[in-house]
């Protein structure tokens, strides 16, 4: 159940986020089932404007990650409001594979390493990132391991045989 403060903050957020990126889809979600209250979906790269808006509302960045959907990337940002109303917001930015978004590391310094990790595993070159290098994989690696076309072993077929 949402408290009064949470409801108020959610309304405010909806209005202010709608202004920051046009054509964004903002919807409330079932917290008990998904773990986040508000979902922000956009196909434009408005990540930095959203980050500034979230910072203004005293949200903290929990994590940055990406999902490879074969034809495009979805960059996922999770924001959480630590000590006021405990609201979690998920921001999903769909970007084409050849058009990376801007970095948000100027707004949240934590993102320097988080975005380095995303680059390391997906090859997404965040624009204007101060220090975009490999972080967990070797410096001379030529692969991006979490892309769907990398290292698909036969294990998945074996599992199907095993279970049936």
């Amino acid at each position: 159940m949402l408290t009064e403060g949470q409801k108020k903050l959610l309304e405010e957020l909806k209005n202010s986020l709608a202004k920051s990126v046009s054509e964004a889809k903002i919807s409330e979600s079932d917290y008990a089932r998904t773990g986040y209250h508000l979902e922000f979906k956009s196909s434009q790269t408005g990540s930095r404007r959203v980050a500034k808006e979230m910072k203004r509302k005293q949200f903290n960045l929990e994590t940055v990650t990406a999902v490879d959907f074969i034809d495009s990337f979805e960059i996922v940002y999770l924001y959480f409001n630590y000590y006021q109303d405990n609201i979690r917001v998920i921001v999903r930015i769909r970007v084409p594979k050849n058009e990376p978004p801007f970095t948000i590391s100027a707004v949240y310094p934590e993102a320097i390493w988080l975005e380095r990790e995303v680059y390391d595993f997906f090859g997404i070159r965040f624009k204007e990132h101060p220090d975009l290098r490999r972080i967990l994989n070797p410096d001379d690696a030529v692969y991006f391991p979490l892309l769907k076309n990398f290292g698909k072993t036969k294990i998945t077929d074996e599992i199907d045989d095993m279970i049936c």
Binding site: T34, G35, L61, T65, F80, Y83, E117, L136, L146, I163
Partner: protein
């Protein structure tokens, strides 16, 4: 008084040099590499090189079914494996909408809190040993051994427990375990006085920790620091209170915080947190409900398409699992938010201006585990 220098203030004629601390070094708690730029004994710039123990857990998740990925979770943070295991189960249960019986939730709380105490004991004692006190380490190890023995009786292993299951826990706890847990709670409560004499009041420890490695509130929040490190900087945030999961809302406990943000504050927060964990264990044992310990869950689960984020408190901070499911038995993507990853990055900010010897104290007080950073 130590004057703090940044890399911009350095005169080109001064002699800077670089020191490689690690990857193999006794005080780096694993395979971690510091590349330090030094001016004499003072750190001017620090860079952490990580990834030496990268095992590709997130990629492994995409190549196996949900049940098969389960043992991997304890291998990330091997010191609080029970908490990582349970958290993964809770995430998948959230995704599938599985209801866990009350008794199983309580058993999970008891085992998780025991594991937290064991992890804090190790964290504190390693920290103290890193700055030169060997004796407390032996006492702490003795206490930690009791927990490991206790958890071994129900799970069969000492660090990577694999005790939780989707929908509950593997086996019910017996009376011997409950009695053992109660005996341990009493035993550790009696030891806090000893630890106070041995560590907290030790003049060398005080001189090495007070005012060293101060992380201010704003820096901590900007860098995404969580756990005892954040609470040592005065932010009252604990996932167990802010977003109660399992059945943490049933128990009365405090969130200890300290305003100072230095190594001593982080140490004191950990100590106070152990006492709170003991309170939780005692309440859970008193009110342990009867009933089944496992819900009726199919042998192989197939979550519906969609995604789910679940946050929980490990001994080091807020962990998060983000699971994307495409409706098959194999996860489409699993992302682990590792608290140590962010907690380590803040050292980049706070190390300049400290002595090399203080690095060991700061690093020990933040208490990271390297396999969790590298994943």
């Amino acid at each position: 008084m130590l004057t703090i220098k940044t890399i911009d203030d350095i005169n080109i004629n001064e002699r800077l040099y670089q020191l490689n601390l690690g990857p193999q070094h006794p005080s780096t708690h694993g395979v971690l590499h510091f590349l330090l730029t030094l001016d004499g004994e003072v750190v001017v710039k620090a860079e952490m090189l990580i990834g030496y123990t990268h095992r590709g857990h997130e990629k492994m998740a995409e190549n196996r079914i949900y049940e098969q990925f389960y043992p991997n979770t304890a291998r990330m943070d091997y010191l609080s494996g029970m908490i990582f295991n349970t958290g993964y189960c809770e995430t998948v249960e959230k995704l599938c909408g599985i209801e866990v019986p009350k008794r199983a939730q309580y058993v999970r709380v008891i085992t998780s809190e025991l594991n937290r105490v064991a992890s804090h004991l190790l964290g504190i004692m390693d920290f103290v040993m890193g700055i030169g006190a060997y004796t407390p380490f032996l006492y702490g190890w003795d206490d930690r051994e009791q927990i490991l023995d206790l958890l071994e009786t129900i799970s069969g292993s000492r660090l990577t427990y694999n005790y939780s299951r989707f929908g509950g826990v593997r086996v019910d706890v017996d009376q011997a375990f409950c009695d053992g847990a109660r005996r341990f709670v009493d035993r550790l409560r009696g030891r806090f006085k000893l630890y106070k004499d041995l560590i907290t009041d030790n003049i060398i420890f005080i001189k090495r920790t007070i005012g060293v490695g101060v992380i201010s509130k704003d820096v901590a929040l900007d860098y995404g620091v969580t756990g005892p490190t954040l609470r040592g900087s005065g932010v009252k945030y604990d996932v167990r209170k802010n977003e109660p999961y399992s059945s943490y809302q049933d128990f009365k406990f405090e969130i200890p915080t300290k305003e100072e943000g230095d190594c001593m504050a982080r140490y004191l927060v950990r100590m106070a947190e152990m006492e709170q964990s003991l309170n939780i264990i005692e309440q859970a044992l008193d009110n342990l409900p009867e009933g089944p310990v496992r819900a009726d869950v199919p042998r192989f689960i197939t979550p519906p398409a969609g995604d789910c984020y679940h946050s929980f408190e490990s001994a080091r901070g807020a962990v998060g699992y983000y699971i994307v499911s495409d409706g098959t038995r194999i996860p489409y993507r699993i992302k682990v938010r590792a608290p140590s990853f962010s907690n380590l990055f803040v050292m980049n900010k706070i190390l300049p201006g400290h002595f090399v010897a203080d690095l060991v104290a700061i690093f020990g007080s933040i208490d990271v585990t390297v396999p969790e950073i590298d994943r």
